[in-house]
Protein backbone atom coordinates (compact mmCIF):
# COMPACT_ATOMS: atom_id res chain seq x y z
CA UNK A 1 0.00 0.00 0.00
CA UNK A 2 1.52 3.23 -1.09
CA UNK A 3 1.12 6.07 1.28
CA UNK A 4 0.82 8.76 -1.29
CA UNK A 5 -2.36 10.79 -1.30
CA UNK A 6 -2.88 10.58 2.44
CA UNK A 7 -1.14 13.72 3.43
CA UNK A 8 2.30 12.13 3.59
CA UNK A 9 3.65 14.53 0.97
CA UNK A 10 2.34 17.47 2.96
CA UNK A 11 3.87 16.10 6.15
CA UNK A 12 7.23 15.65 4.43
CA UNK A 13 7.16 19.21 3.17
CA UNK A 14 6.36 20.43 6.67
CA UNK A 15 9.44 18.71 8.05
CA UNK A 16 11.63 20.49 5.53
CA UNK A 17 10.35 23.92 6.45
CA UNK A 18 10.51 23.34 10.17
CA UNK A 19 14.09 22.17 9.86
CA UNK A 20 14.96 25.43 8.19
CA UNK A 21 13.61 27.27 11.19
CA UNK A 22 16.57 26.06 13.21
CA UNK A 23 19.18 26.54 10.54
CA UNK A 24 21.34 29.50 10.03
CA UNK A 25 19.72 31.82 7.51
CA UNK A 26 21.64 32.32 4.29
CA UNK A 27 21.65 36.06 4.59
CA UNK A 28 24.34 38.63 5.05
CA UNK A 29 23.27 42.01 6.28
CA UNK A 30 24.93 44.35 3.93
CA UNK A 31 26.18 47.53 5.51
CA UNK A 32 27.53 45.71 8.55
CA UNK A 33 28.50 42.39 7.09
CA UNK A 34 30.41 42.82 3.90
CA UNK A 35 31.38 40.04 1.64
CA UNK A 36 34.36 40.31 -0.63
CA UNK A 37 33.39 40.83 -4.18
CA UNK A 38 34.92 38.95 -7.06
CA UNK A 39 38.56 39.64 -7.81
CA UNK A 40 37.53 40.19 -11.40
CA UNK A 41 34.79 42.57 -10.45
CA UNK A 42 33.35 44.55 -13.31
CA UNK A 43 32.08 47.54 -11.46
CA UNK A 44 30.70 50.91 -12.15
CA UNK A 45 33.88 52.79 -12.71
CA UNK A 46 36.91 52.64 -14.91
CA UNK A 47 40.46 53.29 -13.79
CA UNK A 48 42.74 54.89 -16.28
CA UNK A 49 46.49 55.01 -16.26
CA UNK A 50 47.67 58.40 -17.38
CA UNK A 51 51.26 57.34 -17.97
CA UNK A 52 50.57 54.23 -19.98
CA UNK A 53 47.85 55.58 -22.21
CA UNK A 54 49.12 56.52 -25.62
CA UNK A 55 45.90 58.03 -26.81
CA UNK A 56 45.39 55.42 -29.49
CA UNK A 57 41.63 55.46 -29.08
CA UNK A 58 41.08 51.72 -29.43
CA UNK A 59 38.98 51.67 -26.29
CA UNK A 60 36.62 54.31 -27.61
CA UNK A 61 36.23 52.45 -30.88
CA UNK A 62 35.49 49.15 -29.19
CA UNK A 63 32.97 50.47 -26.75
CA UNK A 64 29.57 49.22 -27.93
CA UNK A 65 27.83 52.01 -26.07
CA UNK A 66 30.00 54.85 -27.20
CA UNK A 67 30.55 55.77 -23.59
CA UNK A 68 34.19 56.75 -23.94
CA UNK A 69 35.13 60.08 -25.39
CA UNK A 70 38.74 60.77 -26.21
CA UNK A 71 40.28 63.87 -27.73
CA UNK A 72 43.96 63.94 -28.54
CA UNK A 73 46.37 66.39 -30.06
CA UNK A 74 49.78 65.67 -31.49
CA UNK A 75 52.93 66.62 -29.69
CA UNK A 76 55.36 67.09 -32.59
CA UNK A 77 58.48 67.51 -30.48
CA UNK A 78 58.17 64.12 -28.77
CA UNK A 79 56.30 62.56 -31.67
CA UNK A 80 53.33 61.27 -29.70
CA UNK A 81 49.70 61.94 -28.89
CA UNK A 82 48.66 64.03 -25.96
CA UNK A 83 45.35 63.09 -24.40
CA UNK A 84 43.44 66.33 -23.98
CA UNK A 85 40.20 64.84 -22.92
CA UNK A 86 39.40 61.41 -21.65
CA UNK A 87 35.88 61.04 -20.44
CA UNK A 88 33.65 58.10 -19.64
CA UNK A 89 29.96 58.49 -19.08
CA UNK A 90 29.38 55.71 -16.60
CA UNK A 91 25.66 56.26 -17.01
CA UNK A 92 25.97 54.85 -20.52
CA UNK A 93 28.56 52.27 -19.65
CA UNK A 94 27.18 48.76 -19.39
CA UNK A 95 30.33 47.40 -17.75
CA UNK A 96 30.93 45.01 -20.55
CA UNK A 97 34.68 45.16 -20.23
CA UNK A 98 35.40 45.20 -23.94
CA UNK A 99 37.37 48.44 -23.68
CA UNK A 100 39.62 46.92 -21.05
CA UNK A 101 40.21 43.83 -23.14
CA UNK A 102 41.01 45.84 -26.20
CA UNK A 103 43.44 48.37 -24.75
CA UNK A 104 46.76 47.39 -26.27
CA UNK A 105 48.87 49.26 -23.70
CA UNK A 106 47.27 47.99 -20.49
CA UNK A 107 46.19 51.45 -19.54
CA UNK A 108 42.57 50.85 -18.69
CA UNK A 109 41.14 48.82 -15.83
CA UNK A 110 37.95 48.36 -13.94
CA UNK A 111 37.89 49.64 -10.42
CA UNK A 112 37.26 47.33 -7.52
CA UNK A 113 34.99 49.84 -5.79
CA UNK A 114 31.30 49.13 -5.91
CA UNK A 115 29.62 51.81 -3.84
CA UNK A 116 29.51 54.41 -6.56
CA UNK A 117 25.96 55.67 -6.34
CA UNK A 118 25.58 59.31 -7.25
CA UNK A 119 22.86 61.82 -6.72
CA UNK A 120 23.00 63.49 -10.10
CA UNK A 121 23.26 62.27 -13.61
CA UNK A 122 26.07 64.69 -14.35
CA UNK A 123 28.18 63.27 -11.54
CA UNK A 124 28.26 59.97 -13.38
CA UNK A 125 30.53 61.39 -16.02
CA UNK A 126 34.12 60.67 -15.13
CA UNK A 127 36.94 62.43 -16.76
CA UNK A 128 40.70 62.22 -16.73
CA UNK A 129 41.66 63.04 -13.20
CA UNK A 130 38.88 61.32 -11.33
CA UNK A 131 39.74 58.16 -13.22
CA UNK A 132 43.17 57.64 -11.75
CA UNK A 133 43.96 54.86 -9.35
CA UNK A 134 43.66 55.85 -5.69
CA UNK A 135 43.72 53.75 -2.51
CA UNK A 136 39.89 53.84 -2.44
CA UNK A 137 39.60 52.98 -6.09
CA UNK A 138 41.76 49.93 -6.38
CA UNK A 139 42.21 48.27 -9.70
CA UNK A 140 40.08 45.21 -10.30
CA UNK A 141 41.67 42.08 -11.68
CA UNK A 142 39.39 41.90 -14.68
CA UNK A 143 41.51 40.67 -17.58
CA UNK A 144 44.70 41.13 -15.56
CA UNK A 145 45.27 37.92 -13.56
CA UNK A 146 48.41 39.20 -11.84
CA UNK A 147 46.44 42.11 -10.43
CA UNK A 148 43.63 39.78 -9.43
CA UNK A 149 45.90 37.64 -7.32
CA UNK A 150 46.73 40.59 -5.07
CA UNK A 151 43.12 41.30 -4.22
CA UNK A 152 41.31 39.67 -1.28
CA UNK A 153 39.61 36.39 -2.12
CA UNK A 154 35.97 36.42 -3.01
CA UNK A 155 33.59 35.21 -0.32
CA UNK A 156 31.70 32.24 -1.64
CA UNK A 157 28.37 31.05 -0.45
CA UNK A 158 29.44 27.44 -0.98
CA UNK A 159 32.05 27.91 1.68
CA UNK A 160 29.98 29.98 4.07
CA UNK A 161 27.16 27.56 4.64
CA UNK A 162 28.30 24.40 6.28
CA UNK A 163 25.18 22.95 7.82
CA UNK A 164 24.30 19.33 7.25
CA UNK A 165 21.11 18.53 5.49
Amino acid sequence: MKFERYGIGIAKGLTVTIRHLFRHPTVSQYPEQRLNISRRFRGNELVWNKEKCTGCGTCAKTCPQGAIEIVTSTDMTENKYVVDKYQVDTGYCINCGLCIESCPYEALYFSHAFECARYRRSELVQSKDDMLETPERKVSGYFYPDKANKLPEQTLLVEKVTEKR
Partner: protein
Protein backbone atom coordinates in the same frame (compact mmCIF):
# COMPACT_ATOMS: atom_id res chain seq x y z
CA UNK B 1 -29.75 23.95 -14.47
CA UNK B 2 -28.08 26.15 -17.01
CA UNK B 3 -27.30 29.61 -15.76
CA UNK B 4 -26.89 32.21 -18.44
CA UNK B 5 -23.63 33.94 -17.84
CA UNK B 6 -21.88 36.67 -19.65
CA UNK B 7 -18.18 36.47 -20.41
CA UNK B 8 -16.03 39.37 -19.36
CA UNK B 9 -12.57 40.52 -20.27
CA UNK B 10 -9.84 40.71 -17.68
CA UNK B 11 -6.62 42.46 -18.46
CA UNK B 12 -3.80 40.57 -16.82
CA UNK B 13 -0.67 42.60 -16.84
CA UNK B 14 1.45 44.26 -18.10
CA UNK B 15 2.24 44.56 -14.42
CA UNK B 16 0.97 41.56 -12.58
CA UNK B 17 2.65 39.44 -9.90
CA UNK B 18 2.95 36.38 -12.08
CA UNK B 19 3.47 37.53 -15.61
CA UNK B 20 7.23 37.22 -15.17
CA UNK B 21 8.03 40.66 -16.44
CA UNK B 22 6.00 43.10 -18.44
CA UNK B 23 3.68 40.81 -20.29
CA UNK B 24 0.00 41.23 -20.85
CA UNK B 25 -2.79 38.78 -21.42
CA UNK B 26 -6.29 39.74 -22.43
CA UNK B 27 -8.26 36.96 -20.84
CA UNK B 28 -11.91 36.42 -21.63
CA UNK B 29 -13.48 34.79 -18.65
CA UNK B 30 -16.74 33.09 -17.97
CA UNK B 31 -16.83 33.30 -14.22
CA UNK B 32 -13.56 31.65 -13.33
CA UNK B 33 -13.23 29.71 -16.55
CA UNK B 34 -10.91 30.94 -19.27
CA UNK B 35 -12.76 31.17 -22.55
CA UNK B 36 -10.11 32.80 -24.63
CA UNK B 37 -6.78 34.45 -24.20
CA UNK B 38 -4.78 36.83 -26.26
CA UNK B 39 -1.16 37.39 -25.30
CA UNK B 40 0.04 40.90 -25.98
CA UNK B 41 3.71 41.66 -25.79
CA UNK B 42 6.20 44.22 -26.90
CA UNK B 43 6.45 46.17 -23.65
CA UNK B 44 10.10 45.29 -23.31
CA UNK B 45 11.11 45.76 -26.91
CA UNK B 46 14.61 47.18 -27.17
CA UNK B 47 15.29 46.45 -30.80
CA UNK B 48 18.17 44.14 -30.12
CA UNK B 49 18.14 42.63 -33.61
CA UNK B 50 18.32 46.05 -35.20
CA UNK B 51 20.94 47.32 -32.77
CA UNK B 52 23.06 44.34 -33.65
CA UNK B 53 23.34 45.51 -37.23
CA UNK B 54 25.30 48.54 -36.12
CA UNK B 55 27.69 46.90 -33.74
CA UNK B 56 30.86 44.98 -34.19
CA UNK B 57 30.68 41.23 -33.86
CA UNK B 58 32.26 41.42 -30.44
CA UNK B 59 30.09 44.33 -29.38
CA UNK B 60 26.95 42.25 -29.89
CA UNK B 61 27.88 39.83 -27.12
CA UNK B 62 26.83 42.23 -24.33
CA UNK B 63 23.53 42.65 -26.17
CA UNK B 64 22.84 38.94 -26.12
CA UNK B 65 23.22 39.03 -22.35
CA UNK B 66 20.05 41.03 -22.29
CA UNK B 67 17.91 38.61 -24.23
CA UNK B 68 17.09 35.96 -21.71
CA UNK B 69 18.65 37.68 -18.77
CA UNK B 70 18.48 34.69 -16.48
CA UNK B 71 20.60 32.56 -18.76
CA UNK B 72 23.05 35.03 -20.25
CA UNK B 73 25.82 32.51 -20.64
CA UNK B 74 23.74 30.34 -22.95
CA UNK B 75 22.92 33.34 -25.12
CA UNK B 76 26.60 34.25 -25.34
CA UNK B 77 27.33 30.68 -26.24
CA UNK B 78 24.79 30.48 -29.05
CA UNK B 79 25.87 33.78 -30.54
CA UNK B 80 29.56 32.93 -30.44
CA UNK B 81 28.86 29.60 -32.10
CA UNK B 82 27.05 31.40 -34.89
CA UNK B 83 29.92 33.80 -35.51
CA UNK B 84 32.44 31.00 -35.37
CA UNK B 85 30.43 29.08 -37.92
CA UNK B 86 30.23 32.16 -40.10
CA UNK B 87 33.92 32.94 -39.95
CA UNK B 88 35.19 29.39 -39.65
CA UNK B 89 37.02 29.91 -36.38
CA UNK B 90 38.43 27.00 -34.45
CA UNK B 91 38.02 27.20 -30.70
CA UNK B 92 40.79 25.89 -28.41
CA UNK B 93 40.10 22.67 -26.57
CA UNK B 94 40.14 24.15 -23.08
CA UNK B 95 37.77 26.89 -24.08
CA UNK B 96 35.29 24.30 -25.34
CA UNK B 97 35.32 22.57 -21.98
CA UNK B 98 34.98 25.82 -20.09
CA UNK B 99 32.03 26.71 -22.28
CA UNK B 100 30.32 23.42 -21.63
CA UNK B 101 30.83 23.63 -17.88
CA UNK B 102 29.60 27.18 -17.77
CA UNK B 103 26.63 26.55 -20.05
CA UNK B 104 25.51 23.58 -18.02
CA UNK B 105 25.88 25.51 -14.78
CA UNK B 106 23.79 28.19 -16.38
CA UNK B 107 21.18 25.61 -17.27
CA UNK B 108 21.02 24.48 -13.67
CA UNK B 109 20.66 28.07 -12.49
CA UNK B 110 17.96 28.92 -15.01
CA UNK B 111 15.99 25.75 -14.38
CA UNK B 112 16.13 26.38 -10.65
CA UNK B 113 14.49 29.74 -11.24
CA UNK B 114 11.97 28.20 -13.61
CA UNK B 115 10.96 25.58 -11.08
CA UNK B 116 10.94 28.04 -8.21
CA UNK B 117 8.81 30.52 -10.08
CA UNK B 118 6.43 27.79 -11.15
CA UNK B 119 5.99 26.59 -7.59
CA UNK B 120 5.53 30.16 -6.50
CA UNK B 121 2.77 30.56 -9.05
CA UNK B 122 1.15 27.50 -7.55
CA UNK B 123 0.93 29.49 -4.37
CA UNK B 124 3.67 28.00 -2.24
CA UNK B 125 4.36 31.28 -0.54
CA UNK B 126 7.93 32.01 -1.79
CA UNK B 127 9.45 29.10 0.10
CA UNK B 128 10.61 26.94 -2.83
CA UNK B 129 11.43 30.10 -4.73
CA UNK B 130 13.77 31.32 -2.03
CA UNK B 131 15.35 27.93 -1.51
CA UNK B 132 16.09 27.70 -5.18
CA UNK B 133 17.37 31.22 -5.32
CA UNK B 134 19.75 30.31 -2.56
CA UNK B 135 21.19 27.52 -4.67
CA UNK B 136 21.26 29.72 -7.74
CA UNK B 137 23.17 32.21 -5.67
CA UNK B 138 25.97 29.68 -5.31
CA UNK B 139 26.14 29.31 -9.07
CA UNK B 140 26.02 33.05 -9.57
CA UNK B 141 28.91 33.32 -7.14
CA UNK B 142 30.90 31.07 -9.43
CA UNK B 143 29.93 33.12 -12.45
CA UNK B 144 30.92 36.28 -10.64
CA UNK B 145 34.25 34.67 -9.99
CA UNK B 146 34.92 33.94 -13.64
CA UNK B 147 33.31 36.92 -15.30
CA UNK B 148 33.11 39.65 -12.69
CA UNK B 149 29.38 40.19 -12.96
CA UNK B 150 26.35 38.55 -11.50
CA UNK B 151 23.70 38.88 -14.18
CA UNK B 152 25.04 40.07 -17.52
CA UNK B 153 28.09 37.89 -17.69
CA UNK B 154 29.43 38.72 -21.15
CA UNK B 155 31.97 35.98 -20.64
CA UNK B 156 32.19 34.10 -23.90
CA UNK B 157 34.00 35.58 -26.85
CA UNK B 158 34.18 34.68 -30.47
CA UNK B 159 36.88 32.02 -30.52
CA UNK B 160 36.84 31.10 -26.88
CA UNK B 161 36.12 32.76 -23.59
CA UNK B 162 37.29 36.12 -22.33
CA UNK B 163 39.64 34.86 -19.63
CA UNK B 164 40.77 31.57 -18.20
CA UNK B 165 39.08 30.20 -15.10
CA UNK B 166 40.70 31.51 -11.93
CA UNK B 167 42.53 29.04 -9.74
CA UNK B 168 39.86 29.16 -7.06
CA UNK B 169 37.17 28.09 -9.48
CA UNK B 170 37.64 24.34 -9.63
CA UNK B 171 37.72 23.71 -5.85
CA UNK B 172 34.63 25.86 -5.42
CA UNK B 173 32.84 24.09 -8.25
CA UNK B 174 33.73 20.72 -6.78
CA UNK B 175 32.25 21.80 -3.46
CA UNK B 176 29.11 22.97 -5.16
CA UNK B 177 28.79 19.70 -7.08
CA UNK B 178 29.06 17.76 -3.84
CA UNK B 179 26.33 19.87 -2.25
CA UNK B 180 23.88 19.91 -5.09
CA UNK B 181 22.48 16.34 -4.90
CA UNK B 182 21.55 16.98 -1.29
CA UNK B 183 19.74 20.17 -2.19
CA UNK B 184 17.87 18.39 -4.93
CA UNK B 185 16.82 15.68 -2.51
CA UNK B 186 15.55 18.34 -0.17
CA UNK B 187 13.46 20.04 -2.84
CA UNK B 188 11.96 16.74 -3.77
CA UNK B 189 11.11 16.17 -0.16
CA UNK B 190 9.53 19.58 0.06
CA UNK B 191 7.03 19.39 -2.75
CA UNK B 192 7.23 16.47 -5.16
CA UNK B 193 4.77 14.30 -3.30
CA UNK B 194 2.71 17.15 -2.05
CA UNK B 195 -0.93 16.23 -2.54
CA UNK B 196 -1.99 19.79 -3.18
CA UNK B 197 0.65 20.30 -5.84
CA UNK B 198 -0.33 17.05 -7.52
CA UNK B 199 -3.97 18.04 -7.44
CA UNK B 200 -3.12 21.42 -8.87
CA UNK B 201 -0.66 20.44 -11.58
CA UNK B 202 -1.34 16.86 -12.65
CA UNK B 203 -3.46 16.69 -15.77
CA UNK B 204 -3.61 20.46 -16.03
CA UNK B 205 -2.67 22.22 -19.26
CA UNK B 206 -1.88 19.15 -21.28
CA UNK B 207 0.18 19.72 -24.38
CA UNK B 208 0.30 16.57 -26.47
CA UNK B 209 3.45 15.64 -28.28
CA UNK B 210 1.79 16.31 -31.60
CA UNK B 211 0.63 19.77 -30.60
CA UNK B 212 4.04 20.55 -29.21
CA UNK B 213 5.70 19.61 -32.49
CA UNK B 214 3.15 21.51 -34.51
CA UNK B 215 3.83 24.75 -32.73
CA UNK B 216 7.54 23.90 -32.84
CA UNK B 217 7.96 24.04 -29.09
CA UNK B 218 11.34 23.01 -27.81
CA UNK B 219 13.23 22.37 -24.64
CA UNK B 220 11.63 21.08 -21.47
CA UNK B 221 8.17 21.96 -22.74
CA UNK B 222 8.59 19.65 -25.72
CA UNK B 223 10.32 16.87 -23.84
CA UNK B 224 7.71 16.86 -21.10
CA UNK B 225 5.23 15.94 -23.82
CA UNK B 226 7.20 12.83 -24.56
CA UNK B 227 9.20 13.91 -27.60
CA UNK B 228 12.84 12.94 -27.31
CA UNK B 229 14.44 15.93 -28.96
CA UNK B 230 17.48 17.63 -27.57
CA UNK B 231 19.82 19.59 -29.78
CA UNK B 232 22.76 18.47 -27.71
CA UNK B 233 22.11 14.99 -29.08
CA UNK B 234 20.21 15.68 -32.29
CA UNK B 235 22.71 18.13 -33.73
CA UNK B 236 25.69 18.06 -31.40
CA UNK B 237 27.46 21.37 -31.21
CA UNK B 238 30.65 22.24 -29.39
CA UNK B 239 31.90 19.05 -27.74
CA UNK B 240 28.67 17.60 -26.47
CA UNK B 241 29.24 14.39 -28.38
CA UNK B 242 32.02 13.54 -25.96
CA UNK B 243 29.79 13.31 -22.94
CA UNK B 244 27.51 10.60 -21.86
CA UNK B 245 24.12 11.83 -20.74
CA UNK B 246 20.51 10.85 -21.11
CA UNK B 247 17.59 12.87 -22.41
CA UNK B 248 14.87 12.51 -19.83
CA UNK B 249 11.33 12.67 -21.12
CA UNK B 250 7.93 12.59 -19.49
CA UNK B 251 4.73 11.16 -20.83
CA UNK B 252 1.65 13.34 -20.54
CA UNK B 253 2.87 16.87 -20.98
CA UNK B 254 0.94 18.45 -18.12
CA UNK B 255 2.25 21.08 -15.74
CA UNK B 256 3.50 18.52 -13.26
CA UNK B 257 5.46 16.77 -15.99
CA UNK B 258 7.06 20.00 -17.09
CA UNK B 259 8.08 20.62 -13.51
CA UNK B 260 9.53 17.11 -13.15
CA UNK B 261 11.20 17.40 -16.53
CA UNK B 262 13.12 20.47 -15.40
CA UNK B 263 14.26 18.76 -12.23
CA UNK B 264 15.46 15.72 -14.19
CA UNK B 265 17.31 17.92 -16.65
CA UNK B 266 19.11 19.58 -13.80
CA UNK B 267 20.36 16.16 -12.77
CA UNK B 268 21.66 15.43 -16.26
CA UNK B 269 23.40 18.79 -16.39
CA UNK B 270 25.20 18.03 -13.17
CA UNK B 271 26.23 14.73 -14.69
CA UNK B 272 27.72 16.49 -17.72
CA UNK B 273 29.56 18.99 -15.55
CA UNK B 274 31.06 16.17 -13.56
CA UNK B 275 32.43 14.54 -16.70
CA UNK B 276 33.72 17.81 -18.08
CA UNK B 277 35.50 18.57 -14.82
CA UNK B 278 37.44 15.34 -15.13
CA UNK B 279 38.36 15.74 -18.77
CA UNK B 280 39.23 19.43 -18.93
CA UNK B 281 42.70 19.94 -20.47
CA UNK B 282 44.98 22.94 -20.02
CA UNK B 283 45.98 25.28 -22.77
CA UNK B 284 44.88 28.54 -24.32
CA UNK B 285 41.30 29.71 -23.94
CA UNK B 286 40.99 32.12 -26.82
CA UNK B 287 41.83 31.74 -30.47
CA UNK B 288 44.16 34.32 -31.94
CA UNK B 289 41.86 36.72 -33.71
CA UNK B 290 42.10 40.30 -34.90
CA UNK B 291 40.34 43.02 -32.90
CA UNK B 292 37.62 43.40 -35.47
CA UNK B 293 36.27 40.23 -36.95
CA UNK B 294 35.35 40.36 -40.63
CA UNK B 295 33.65 37.12 -41.55
CA UNK B 296 33.40 36.33 -45.26
CA UNK B 297 30.10 37.20 -46.89
CA UNK B 298 27.57 34.51 -46.27
CA UNK B 299 25.11 33.33 -43.70
CA UNK B 300 25.11 30.95 -40.78
CA UNK B 301 22.62 29.58 -38.31
CA UNK B 302 23.74 28.11 -35.04
CA UNK B 303 21.44 26.77 -32.41
CA UNK B 304 21.96 25.43 -28.95
CA UNK B 305 19.84 23.77 -26.33
CA UNK B 306 19.31 26.71 -24.02
CA UNK B 307 17.59 26.12 -20.67
CA UNK B 308 14.28 27.13 -22.22
CA UNK B 309 14.63 25.35 -25.54
CA UNK B 310 16.21 25.86 -28.90
CA UNK B 311 17.99 29.20 -29.01
CA UNK B 312 19.20 30.05 -32.48
CA UNK B 313 21.14 32.90 -34.02
CA UNK B 314 20.94 33.51 -37.73
CA UNK B 315 23.64 35.84 -38.99
CA UNK B 316 24.14 37.28 -42.43
CA UNK B 317 27.51 38.81 -43.15
CA UNK B 318 28.45 41.18 -45.93
CA UNK B 319 32.14 41.01 -45.09
CA UNK B 320 32.04 44.10 -42.92
CA UNK B 321 32.70 44.44 -39.23
CA UNK B 322 29.01 44.31 -38.38
CA UNK B 323 26.47 41.68 -39.38
CA UNK B 324 24.09 42.58 -42.18
CA UNK B 325 21.27 40.89 -40.38
CA UNK B 326 20.98 39.16 -37.05
CA UNK B 327 17.90 37.14 -36.35
CA UNK B 328 17.25 35.49 -33.04
CA UNK B 329 15.05 32.49 -32.52
CA UNK B 330 13.97 32.82 -28.91
CA UNK B 331 12.63 29.65 -27.32
CA UNK B 332 10.29 31.55 -24.99
CA UNK B 333 8.37 33.16 -27.80
CA UNK B 334 7.87 29.95 -29.73
CA UNK B 335 6.90 28.00 -26.64
CA UNK B 336 4.44 30.70 -25.77
CA UNK B 337 2.45 30.06 -28.93
CA UNK B 338 1.24 26.85 -27.33
CA UNK B 339 -0.31 28.77 -24.45
CA UNK B 340 -3.69 29.39 -26.03
CA UNK B 341 -4.35 25.73 -26.73
CA UNK B 342 -3.28 24.78 -23.24
CA UNK B 343 -5.35 27.17 -21.20
CA UNK B 344 -8.75 27.21 -22.85
CA UNK B 345 -11.36 25.68 -20.60
CA UNK B 346 -9.23 25.89 -17.47
CA UNK B 347 -9.58 28.30 -14.60
CA UNK B 348 -7.70 31.48 -13.82
CA UNK B 349 -5.60 29.69 -11.25
CA UNK B 350 -4.70 27.11 -13.88
CA UNK B 351 -3.90 29.80 -16.40
CA UNK B 352 -1.31 31.15 -14.01
CA UNK B 353 0.40 27.84 -13.40
CA UNK B 354 0.27 26.80 -17.05
CA UNK B 355 1.81 30.10 -17.95
CA UNK B 356 4.38 29.60 -15.22
CA UNK B 357 5.17 26.09 -16.40
CA UNK B 358 6.07 27.30 -19.90
CA UNK B 359 8.77 29.38 -18.25
CA UNK B 360 9.18 32.49 -20.34
CA UNK B 361 11.48 35.44 -20.01
CA UNK B 362 10.01 38.57 -21.46
CA UNK B 363 13.41 39.93 -22.36
CA UNK B 364 13.65 37.18 -24.91
CA UNK B 365 10.14 37.46 -26.28
CA UNK B 366 10.31 41.14 -27.00
CA UNK B 367 14.01 41.35 -27.83
Amino acid sequence: MAVRTEPFVLNMGPVHPSTHGVFRMRVTLDGEVVVDIEPIFGYLHRGIEKLAEQRTYTGIIPLTDRLDYISSMSNNFAYCLAVEKLAGIKVPERAEYIRVIIAELQRVAALLIAVGAFLNDCGAFFTPFLYMFRERERIVDLFEMVSGQRLTYNYMRVGGVSQDLPDEFMPALRKFMNMMPRFMAEYDRLLVQNEILIARAKGVGILTGEQAINCSASGPVLRASGVKWDIRKADPYSIYDRFDFAIPTQTTGDCYDRYRQRVEETRQSLHIIRQAMEQIPSGPVRAELPQLIRPPAGEAYAHIEAPKGELGFYLVSDNSIAPYRCHIRPPSLINLTALRDMVRGWKIADLIIIFGSIDITVGEIDR
